[in-house]
Amino acid sequence: MISVAPVRKQVLVSASPPRAFAVFTAEMSRWWPATHSITKSPLKRYVLEPRVGGRWYAVGEDGESCETGYVIEWQPPQLLVLAWQLNGEWQYDPKLVTEVEVRFVAEGENATRVELQHRNLERMADAAQRVRGMVDAPGGWSAILQAFKKSADT
């Protein structure tokens, strides 16, 4: 089995865990970098439905909505696990599930350490391999991109 080391990040914020959790989830639109929007029009809202199985999606200014994934674990204010279903081309692929775990650890009075781990990145390789099977002729890069799109649509 091919495995890829998870991406791990942490950041200290000046807020209690409940507040940090709320900003991370309910107020995602406020801080999510606009440069990393999957919507074609500018990002208007980034929605995370507050429950296990809840959708995680972006809404663009022209009304289109783009899925990112869903909520796997919802344990405010300590733990959040999200399914990230975007491949390397920022395309949503319903068959791809990588996990983003976010832990909120109290650090004294009014500070929280937010620890993020993005794991199962090797599954992106599996998705690539599935796509690979669809491109049978030695096509160019455009053919591969087409396949990527196809796989994202099914």
């Binding site: 990393h36 030695p138 591969i144």
Partner: protein
């Protein structure tokens, strides 16, 4: 982007077979070429392309050279996500500083 190079390398059906033969573990060129309709030098050439794309690595075991699937083949995508989360989390952190100023 290296991730694209990896996919491009795998678009060739013969190269894909070479890559897939390594899924169960490291193999020598001879073992990979066995049962394939292409010559050993051709297999070597495919391995070279896969190596350049970051998909396989090679090492010497005694007197022979073996090839294996490089677990860092997806390094490019990892780097991309690593940088992405850096940006996202600093933006998240800055949000609390803004709140403080507003108070």
């Amino acid at each position: 982007m290296a991730y694209q190079a990896a996919l491009l390398a795998l678009a060739d059906p013969t190269r894909r077979r070479v890559f897939e033969k390594l899924r169960r573990g490291p193999l020598s060129v001879g073992k990979i070429a066995a049962g394939m309709p292409v010559s050993r030098p051709a297999v070597s050439q495919h391995l070279g392309v896969l190596k350049k794309a970051g998909l396989v690595g090679d090492s010497t075991q005694g007197t022979r050279r073996v090839y294996y699937i490089d677990p860092n083949g997806l390094a490019a995508i990892r780097i991309w996500l690593d940088q992405f989360w850096d940006t996202a989390l600093s933006s998240f952190q800055a949000e609390f500083a803004k709140e403080k100023e507003a108070e």
